[in-house]
């Protein structure tokens, strides 16, 4: 028993993904702790567990996504709950400060971190909190984490879903599905920016391209255009707005469809095209602007993803990343765009744990490193 325990990494088990905008943290809370373990458990380890599991918000900006919690799962021979926590990257210095205050370095755990911040904040972790990060590549982690969560499932339900009848707003419904045979897939990760990967197996993938027009662009432009401050606020406004007051449609130019090229009158001809006119600029609502920003960014990602899928000859397009969190406008739009422009050839797939796969992948690395001799 003891022998096995020694092979396992010491608690706490964390995986961390430090992105451009958000830090994603997964925490494995063991529920199979023996009395013996409980006795040996140092005080600050207990306090960390209690702090994380008994709160849903941390400080001003940290949030635990309770609805995403994976319960009673087994990792590395231990049973427990996997918690999903996020906070803005801006709060990173405070987080490191906390690590020092809680004397995290005494716990002899390895902090596995991925995302750009693993590199950017490496020195601060070392200097401020005496913590050595194990830096991991974000795309490796993303794929590993995604495949793992899909295998484990979402508390008895499938992790993956798609939209049935994506072209029809009335009958468009979310349907669960499994990624039984996931390869090849085009993986579109929409964070602050966007990375597009062609994945052929767990270890065989390539980054096809990326675009700087991502979630950061949506929020950045919304903040500048509407004065909003958070992603939630921006999405809330967008959900109430109408982008056709902002965008110029094909029918605004041609009076109807542009038949010569098979373009529907309702297609967007020029994003923000109406805003070239001063009168229209003066009369536009913030909600309409937020909606147009969202639609513009989403359609553009859809368009690039679709072209990549065609170029790479891949039919399954999986969209992940925190841009899709609580963002059904975008998920439905992406599903529609994939279906419509490919004439049903491409299928858009989504995952419930949108933005957390990198962090999960980092945690798996922790478990893997200590398993190795």
């Amino acid at each position: 028993m003891k022998l096995i325990n020694e092979k396992k990494p010491a608690f706490p088990w964390f995986g961390m993904d430090i992105g451009g905008t958000l830090v994603k943290l997964v925490y494995f809370e063991p529920v199979d702790i023996t009395a013996e373990e409980e006795q040996e458990e140092v005080e600050n380890l207990k306090s960390i567990r209690r702090y994380l599991t008994s709160n849903v918000a941390y400080g001003k900006t940290g949030v635990r996504d309770v609805h995403l919690e994976l319960r009673n799962m087994t990792m590395c021979g231990r049973t427990g709950n996997l918690h999903f926590i996020r906070f803005p990257t801006q709060a990173m210095p405070r987080f490191i400060q906390m690590g020092r205050d809680k004397n995290f370095s005494s716990l002899h755990t390895t902090l596995c971190a991925t995302g750009g911040g693993a590199y950017k904040f490496e020195n601060e972790f070392r200097m401020m909190a005496d913590l050595e990060l194990l830096k991991l590549d974000e795309l490796d982690c993303l794929i590993r984490g995604l495949l793992f969560v899909d295998r484990v499932g979402f508390n008895g339900h499938p992790e993956c879903y798609y939209f049935q009848n994506p072209s029809d707003t009335q009958s468009c419904v979310k349907k669960p599905c499994t990624l039984d045979n996931p390869f090849p897939m085009l993986l579109v990760n929409i964070g602050s920016g966007v990375s597009i990967l062609a994945v052929y197996s767990e270890n065989n993938y390539k980054r096809v391209t990326g675009t700087s027009l991502g979630g950061g662009t949506f929020l950045g432009l919304c903040c500048l255009l509407t004065g909003c401050e958070t992603f939630e606020e921006a999405l809330e406004m967008a959900s109430k707005g109408d982008s056709t007051n902002v965008d110029k449609l094909v029918k605004d130019i041609y009076g109807g469809d542009y038949e010569r090229f098979g373009l529907q009158g309702s297609a967007v001809a020029s994003s923000f095209g109406h805003m070239m006119s001063k009168e229209k600029r003066d009369s536009i609502s913030k909600e309409d602007l937020a909606r147009a920003t969202l639609v513009t960014i989403t359609n553009n990602i859809g368009s690039i993803a679709r072209m990549c899928a065609v170029n790479e000859k891949i039919e399954r397009v999986v969209f992940v990343g925190n841009f899709l969190r609580i963002n059904t406008v975008s998920t439905k739009l992406l599903a529609y765009a994939m279906d419509y422009w490919s004439k049903g050839q491409l299928r858009a797939l989504f995952l419930e744990h949108e933005g957390y796969f990198g962090a999960v992948g980092a945690l798996m690395e922790l478990l893997k490193t200590t398993e190795d001799p």
Binding site: G20, G116, S271
Partner: protein
């Protein structure tokens, strides 16, 4: 999207009604205008019309030599005749001036046969009623994209150096592409308010394969919201001053450095506007505009690359109001294409991009005239160059100057259809010009100076050529102003008409001379020199015949070279000719450099002559007088005697003292009357005189008369001889031919001689045999 722009409702089209148009410059030849087309975009109107231009041309006519008394001493008479040529006019001006322009057209339109005006562009609908009312023409709307593609095909085919690569930090920002006769397939990315990506496969086959809603309208609309700046140009101005890194989240902002594993550098934009989401600080207008420009340019570039890759296309042209001559957008698009394709695809731009729609609309309306059957040439005299003070440049500056801003393109219909010389080794890589003055600043400086220096002489010559016309002096003065202005423009913007070359400087001068009805300033000089030289022909031939075979071959070459010294185009020579009309052929020979020459493959040539005769020689001739009569003709005579057929290619129209086809016809007849070898050659159809299709002192082997190309093919030409500085040094020095070639010239310019490592009157004698075609029979035959 196809829409080229939008009608700015803020600018009333009546505001500039009081402005007076400069009628000498704008809407030229309106009296004879036949067919109209108009393309009204968001802010600019482009008008096209077809007109005929009456020009004076110098014609030569042989005197009837049976009636000797009437003929006097002269060989032929020169007469000035009126000739009508077809010309396409294209004018671009701001929509604000549309009413003024329509009024002007109405007042000057004499020929009212036309009933219809073809129209395209987003604004065509808005101005339909105004146009119909003012001009009394029915507006007939044409599909925008069809017009755009038609126009694009037309300029790519007919205008050399139409397309260019933009390199902001290079010595010359514009790198012009050589005209490839095979223009298809290509991708056209039209960035109007939205983006349309069109694959063009042939003259009539094109397809919109994709597009994007993020385009010029997004830059304009979103830019106006973010910066409270109304005008598109002002937004670009802001962008060119901004720093995007304060607004964008870069890779280094996330990673602290580069993302080495993926090869993403730290300065790469990870998230456009990513910083404006996290920081609640103020951003400058400039920085936001710059960030927006990058975001949109990168996005369009990325999509263009994805489509180019999918359809396996490497030629991608960018157009639309977003691009239209704006260095800042050309730069960001170029940057984006280079980034996404790692240099595999080049972003190409077009000099006349703004005119594509109206050219296409015009062509649609002119289909019955088959404009595509002809070759057309850009008239440098009547066309504004790239980046001239055109309506789409520097609106603020222009507003202050108070002038009516317009930009023009004129294209002349060429009498002959022009094609490649079939003997070019690789037509797609052929570049006529030896030195690109756009890139070579030192050479540019010199030649611009040289042409400016020579201007007085040219003006004097032009006036002297028309002694019976009292207003010639005034016209010559106008010519001087025009050409001097062109030279000044070229000093500032060497790229104005494509790559600047000695050829383009010469051609521009010819165009300007023609424009002011000086079709042939050297006609009288040529006549006099031809007369004089003819008198010495028989004597020259006789003395050659007295030489041994080997001596004769050398004397013939020396004769061609000495004859080539007689060139009014070269300042060093024209000075001597001017001061000493008796400057003789023999003296010219003495001036020549002693062998070994600067470039000397005479020994190889002589060896070759010992071998079997060539089947057919194509000889591009140069000057009249001593050059053609005492230099070239004896050489031709020897070729004929060897059993080689000879095709003499001379200019279709006059240029300097170059012998024209018309003159050469008469001269050859006269020589034939004295020389049985030439006479037999003509009679037996072994000596042919054909037009080159050109009126330039230089030679572009990719634009030659179709008939010439046919003759060259039929006669199985196996030797090409190119003579003179203009044709063998300034152009074609490096031209690779698929048969034997001989380039002969005397360097009559000390600066150029210096540059080539020689001195004044150094000789270039360049005999080349293409690789893989060894002279296997060389030396097998002995001369009789």
């Amino acid at each position: 999207m196809a829409e080229c722009g939008r009608v700015d409702s803020n600018t009333s089209h009546t505001m500039d009604k009081s402005i007076t148009l400069p009628p000498d410059e704008i809407f030229r030849n309106l009296e004879n205008a036949k067919r109209f087309a108009i393309d009204i975009g968001g802010s600019l109107t482009k008008l096209a019309y077809y007109s005929t231009v009456q020009h004076k041309v110098a014609k030569v006519r042989s005197f009837d030599h049976t009636a000797k008394a009437a003929a006097g001493d002269k060989l032929y008479e020169i007469s000035m005749q009126e000739e009508v040529t077809a010309r396409l006019h294209f004018i671009k001006f701001e929509n604000a001036y549309i009413e003024t322009c329509l009024d002007f057209i109405k007042d000057h339109l004499v020929n009212t046969e036309t009933k219809v005006i073809k129209a395209t562009g987003g604004g065509a609908h808005k101005f339909k009623e105004l146009i119909e009312r003012k001009l009394g023409l029915k507006v007939d709307k044409e599909d925008e994209m069809t017009c755009l593609i038609k126009g694009c095909n037309f300029v790519l085919k007919n205008i050399p150096h139409e397309a260019f690569v933009y390199a902001k930090h290079a010595d010359s920002e514009f790198r012009f592409q050589t005209t490839n006769p095979d223009i298809f397939p290509y991708l056209l990315v039209n960035i109007g308010s939205g983006v349309s990506i069109v694959k063009v496969e042939s003259e009539d086959k094109f397809e919109r394969i994709g597009g994007s809603s993020i385009g010029g309208g997004t830059f304009w609309g979103l830019g106006a919201l973010l910066t409270k700046t109304k005008r598109f140009d002002e937004l670009l101005q802001l962008a060119s001053k901004g720093q995007h890194a304060s607004v964008d989240m870069l890779v280094k902002d996330i990673y602290g450095g580069s993302y080495g594993y993926l090869g993403l550098t730290g300065d790469l934009i990870a998230s456009s506007f990513g910083k404006s989401a996290t920081a609640d600080k103020d951003f400058s207008k400039e920085d936001m505009a710059k960030s927006l420009l990058h975001m949109i340019s990168n996005d369009i570039g990325q999509l263009a690359c994805l489509y180019a890759k999918l359809h396996n296309l490497s030629r991608v042209y960018f157009g639309g109001f977003f691009i239209r001559g704006h260095p800042v957008t050309m730069h960001t698009i170029t940057y984006s294409i280079n980034f996404f394709t790692k240099g595999e695809v080049q972003a190409l731009f077009l000099r006349h991009e703004g005119y594509l729609g109206t050219i296409g609309a015009f062509l649609k309306g002119a289909e019955e005239d088959n404009p595509n059957q002809y070759s057309w040439g850009e008239n440098y005299a009547g066309s504004s160059g790239l980046m001239s003070v055109s309506p789409d440049m520097n609106p603020m500056q222009r507003a202050r100057s108070g002038t009516f801003p317009f930009d023009m393109l004129e294209m002349d219909r060429l009498e002959r259809q022009l094609v490649n010389l079939p003997l070019l080794q690789d037509p797609s890589s052929y570049i006529p010009d030896t030195v690109d003055l756009t890139e070579d600043a030192l050479a540019r400086e010199y030649w611009l100076y040289c042409f400016e220096e020579a201007l007085d002489g040219v003006v004097k010559r032009a006036v002297a050529s028309q002694p019976d016309m009292p207003e010639a002096a005034l016209r010559a003065e106008k010519f001087r102003q025009k050409y001097r202005h062109k030279l000044q423009t070229l000093r500032q913007q060497p790229f104005a008409y494509g790559s600047l070359t000695v050829r383009s400087l010469l051609d521009t001068r010819e165009h300007c001379l023609n424009e002011f009805n000086f079709p042939d300033p050297y006609s009288k000089i040529k006549q006099r020199e031809n007369d004089t030289a003819l008198k010495y022909y028989q004597k020259a031939v006789k003395s050659l015949d007295e030489l041994s075979w080997e001596e004769k071959q050398f004397a013939l070459v020396q004769g061609v070279l000495a004859g080539n010294v007689f060139d009014w185009g070269a300042k060093a020579v024209s000075d001597v000719l001017e001061s000493d009309p008796e400057f003789g052929f023999e003296e010219a020979k003495r001036q020549l450099e002693e062998r070994p020459w600067l470039v000397d493959s005479y020994d190889q040539w002589l060896e070759r002559l010992k071998g079997p005769p060539h089947k057919c020689a194509l000889f591009f001739v140069d000057n009249s007088g001593v050059d053609i009569i005492l230099g070239v003709m004896p050489f031709v005579r020897e070729l004929l005697s060897r059993g080689t057929e000879v095709v003499l290619a001379s200019n279709s129209g006059p240029a300097l003292n170059d012998v024209t086809n018309g003159e050469l016809q008469i001269l050859t007849e006269r020589i034939a009357a004295m020389d049985p070898v030439i006479e037999a050659g003509l009679r037996e159809d072994r000596l042919l005189l054909v037009q080159s299709g050109s009126s330039s002192p230089c030679l572009d082997l990719s634009r030659l008369d179709k008939v010439l190309a046919m003759v060259v093919r039929e006669r199985q030409t196996d030797l090409v001889i190119i003579e003179g500085m203009g044709r063998a040094i300034h152009t074609n020095y490096y031209a690779m031919l698929s048969c034997e070639s001989l380039k002969m010239a005397v360097i009559k310019n000390s600066w150029l001689a210096d540059r080539l490592g020689g001195k004044l009157f150094s000789v270039v004698f360049k005999y080349e045999v293409p690789a893989g075609k060894p002279n296997k029979d060389c030396g097998a035959f002995s001369p009789s």
